[in-house]
Amino acid sequence: MAISLKWINDFVDITNEDKIELANKITKSGINVEKVTTTNIPNLVIGHILECSMHPDSDHLHVCQVDVGNATLQIVCGASNVRKDLKVIVALPGAILPGDFEIKKSTIRGVESNGMICALFELGLEEKIEETYNKGITELGSDAIVGENPLDYLGLNDTTYELDLNPNRTDCNNHLPFAYEVAAVLGKEVKEPDISFKEINEDVNDLVKLDVTTNNVSMYNLMIAKDVTIKESPDFIKQRLEVAGVRSINNVVDISNYVMLEYGQPLHFFDKDVVGDAIVVRMAQDGEKIITLDKEERDLTKDDIIISDGKTPLCVAGVMGGLNSGITDNTKNILIEAAIFNPYNIRYTSLRLNLRSEASLRLEKPLSYEYCLKALKRACHLLEKYADAKIVKGIVTYDKVDKKPKVVDVTLQDTNAILGMELTNQDIKNILTSLGFAYEYKNDTFKVTIPNRRQDIYLQKEDIIEEIGRLYGYDNIKPTLPKITTKKGEYRDNINFRKIISKRMRSLGFNELRTYTLIGEDEKDKYNYNFGTTIKLNRPMLKERSYVRQSLLSSLVDITKYNLNKKYNEVLLYEIANVYWEENDEYMEDTKLAFTLSGNYLMNTWNNNVYKMDFYFIKGIVENILDFLGLSNRYSLELSSNLPKEIHPKINSEIIVDNEHIGYFGKLHPSITKEDIYVCEISLTKLINHKTNDVKYQEINKYPVVEKDVAFIVDKDTPSIEIQKDIKRAAGKLLTEIKVFDIYTGDKIDKNKKSIAYNLTFEDNTRTLTEEEVMEKFNKIISKIIEKYHAELRDK
């Protein structure tokens, strides 16, 4: 799709404009010209072959003497159709043909050649196919004037613009609306196309009856053109359609496309003799069928608008015609439709049927009723001129369009206040005039009438001010800062908490990741720790991205494995992200912190000072975070049997803060991986609710402390934490610290037993403890543990 400037020149005089500069001006005004292409090739001239003889050293080359106006040149030519007296296209030395092929003076098999006689395909103006190749060089008519530009003679000299448009201005992909933009930046006037024609003395209302039974049509017009001659289109229509990327079919079909590319209003031509004398526009019924032009049977729904002859569907409105009602080589009489439908229905239908055509794309946007009527008449004009049509008098119309003019009040003050520019009233007047917007200036106010062709402009002053601003030029805006109160910005809600945790994780050595929220069927139930109902997308793009995840671990574990495969020795990764699920018809959100680790900590490549990260390491990370948050003594980390199946049942912990379960950590189950990978996932949303107080300084104890060591032999599966709790309970306040300093299992004790050695610290920060009172507590501890765990004391 491109805009032909030759076509534009029909509406605005741009003959003397520099086409590149013009493109820049238009782009600056907000209509983005993405690419400028010109067919003009310098150093092409019309030549006349005065003499043509065989090359002395070749069986197919000819040596020609060619008159190019100011000289007669000798040119060697290999085409089979080259002959004396022919008028041809000559590329002189210096001409650059497509593919950066520069024509130079040369010697071909000993004969001097001063240029090249060309075919259109060699100039990039025709496709290079067998047919064009076999035609040989392009033969110009005898009326071609020697020395002049052959592309001008052929009408092929054009510059085209490819546009990258904002969705509100797709009308500019049509020539007349684009011409208005050209006129606006140049301050020129637009001359609209000729829509005049003669009418024959028959009334269209006698020939066709229209019935519209749906509210999804705002305007529907029919006219009739009789006795058309179907033939090839004139060259200018063919060339212009080609620029726009539309294939030429015949004069009648081409005219409907040509008018669409002019106004942006799609037309539909029916064979009047096939459709009969009744047209009914209605919504289809569910299950109704139509065979469309492409011979496909289509199922219709109640949201599709159709055109019918009162019985069967003839056409899916705005999307595609039916198989039998369209224009054929035998068509004599044409029923011309120009309509505006509800864009939503057109969009729905074309998307559902996967039929997105130039017509449907235009009908998906709001259209101008003025252009709708003009396009209808323009088609009649062209059919009369290029298809010998006789136009039947009158229009059959269904019309629900609100035609009240849209008038907006704009003042200079408003304009400058919003744009931050310094325009004058005269500037505004000039711009409104160049845009072709009618206005009245009264009491310091512009009463601007929005032209019907500009369906994108909403009835509010800002829309007009934007038009003024974009044409005045945004380069004129002076940068300022808002004149408002100074205040300090801050992180709201839980963002700061998340950032603090994130920084802590990095300081502990973890690298931050961002992985996808969307996961696949296979992953959606992994690491299921109290999951709710998983959210599924209606229309996923990929199976692997069709569910909203509830755990970050699946992705993190994949990346951990990836990095272990890459032989990285130390892998520490974390991610903080929101997860979502459904609960009682509501969507719930939780901010998760997940991290994984594997390999060695504090690595050195050449000595063995490494710590292989294990369960106690990840436990240390968890405790580090909780202690950092001031939650010491408020959490417990205990083996759980309720964790996801991906977690090792014997090497894990549930994280419980103030009796609330906030997450878990552990080693990955051997069925998931053979590597030692440890993972953790915590709900930050829950964690943040456990508030803590500020640091309160405590004076360091000045009195001596007493330390005692004791080792118990207990059953192997006795959790140390239980023993510690009992020690604490038995000892009371004087016991301030319990350290495990040795674990032993082995030959020296029963194989179902283990020995745990504790180092106990007793102190009181108000006095020196006596040996007797410490021993009393110590003995109490020993007897309690022996009694409760059937423990034995281990001799040192």
């Binding site: 910005g489 809600d493 229309r539």
Partner: protein
């Protein structure tokens, strides 16, 4: 007699301290002379034999002897100690050129780095950082933003819908603005930025990602101009891409702003001359913005006759790609190689 003895010891002291290389030898000498039965200590017992008038002289001579000994002893002692330390130092020598132990400190994700840079700048300009849900209502993501159902601009943002069409994965962070305006009930000025994840039905390739990150800003107050937006944008551009950047606005279209603009910076690579990065134009588009459309203000409870403001939005991946010279957006989400991540383990600015 005693004089001979003293002279004899004096002579001995001149040579006895030579060639001592062990501390033990030195200590033996100390015992030999200064020990209980040492040669110097025992001189004292000779005092009885010294005539009275010479006793003082004798005392001084013995004292001198002692002092001489101690001086020599200390000197040698210090020499020996120095020698020992020097030996120890030599023995402790290591190859300091061997590789260091790696101290693991993690890196922030490049997306997070850009977000925090912008947050820090804009918070200093009074913007609060606000977030909102990624599973969002169509109402907030589209309808109230002047994007009713069937609106052509919804085309550009093919959306992941959930359960009917009432809910979706937000296609932009603008719904956070809507929520903020509704929460303030048209009563208070607003200055926020909202960074966050967004989702569109794009096929993942080098320049498209179905999940990406936006940061939008919203300022609602009184008498705000497009010039204020431009000034604000200049601050952002300079913060991210250096003080030499020039900025420009180009007309654009967003349903939620009127007028709407594209925000460009002069190319940081070629300084506007034209290169690969700016595709020869000398300018790079880094975001979209505009004056808040009065329809949106009205929809969200603000009377457009009393309030106006601007909104702007940046694609964080795009900024990060430009800033760090990354040419494949998937680097941010897949191929999470530690070698990639660790490149971002250093400070900037």
């Amino acid at each position: 007699m005693y004089k001979d003895k003293i002279e004899e010891i004096n002579e001995e002291l001149k040579s006895v301290f030579t060639n001592i290389d062990k501390e033990q030898t030195l200590e033996n000498i100390k015992v030999e002379y200064m020990g209980k039965n040492g040669k110097i200590s025992t001189l004292n017992s000779m005092i009885r034999e010294v005539p009275n008038e010479e006793k003082k002289e004798f005392g001084m001579a013995v004292n001198n002897l002692r002092n001489t000994f101690n001086e020599l002893y200390s000197k040698i002692k210090e020499e020996l100690e120095n020698k020992e330390i020097n030996e120890k130092l030599n023995n402790e020598a290591i190859d300091v050129t061997l590789p260091a132990t790696y101290i693991p400190v993690g890196a922030a994700h490049p997306i997070e780095r850009i977000i925090e840079t912008l947050e820090n700048l804009l918070m200093s300009m009074g913007y609060d950082v606000v977030e909102g849900p990624e599973v969002e209502k169509d109402l907030y993501n589209f309808e109230l933003l002047n994007l009713p159902k069937g609106h052509p601009a919804r085309d550009a943002q093919d959306t992941f819908y959930i359960k009917g069409e009432e809910y979706l994965l937000r296609s932009q962070t603008s719904p956070v603005q809507v929520r903020e305006m509704l929460a303030n009930k048209g009563e208070r000025p607003i200055r926020i930025i909202c960074p966050g994840k967004t989702y569109r039905r794009d096929e993942d390739d080098a320049t498209h990602s179905h999940q990406f990150t936006q940061m939008e800003g919203l300022l609602v107050d009184k008498n705000i101009t497009l010039g204020d937006l431009k000034g604000t944008f200049e601050e952002v551009a300079k913060k991210l891409f250096g003080s030499g950047r020039e900025t420009r606005f180009r007309p654009s279209y967003y349903p939620f702003t009127e007028p709407s603009v594209e925000m460009d910076i002069s190319c940081f690579n070629c300084n506007g001359k034209g290169c690969n990065i700016c595709k020869g134009t000398g300018w790079i588009t880094v975001g979209g913005a505009g004056m808040v459309n009065p329809i949106v203000l009205k929809n969200c409870g603000y009377d457009p006759n009393n309030w106006n403001g601007f909104a702007f939005g940046f694609g964080i991946e795009r900024l990060a790609m430009l800033k760090y010279g990354i040419n494949d957006i998937r680097v941010f989400y897949v191929n999470h190689d530690l070698k990639t991540l660790k490149q971002f383990n250093r400070r900037e600015y």
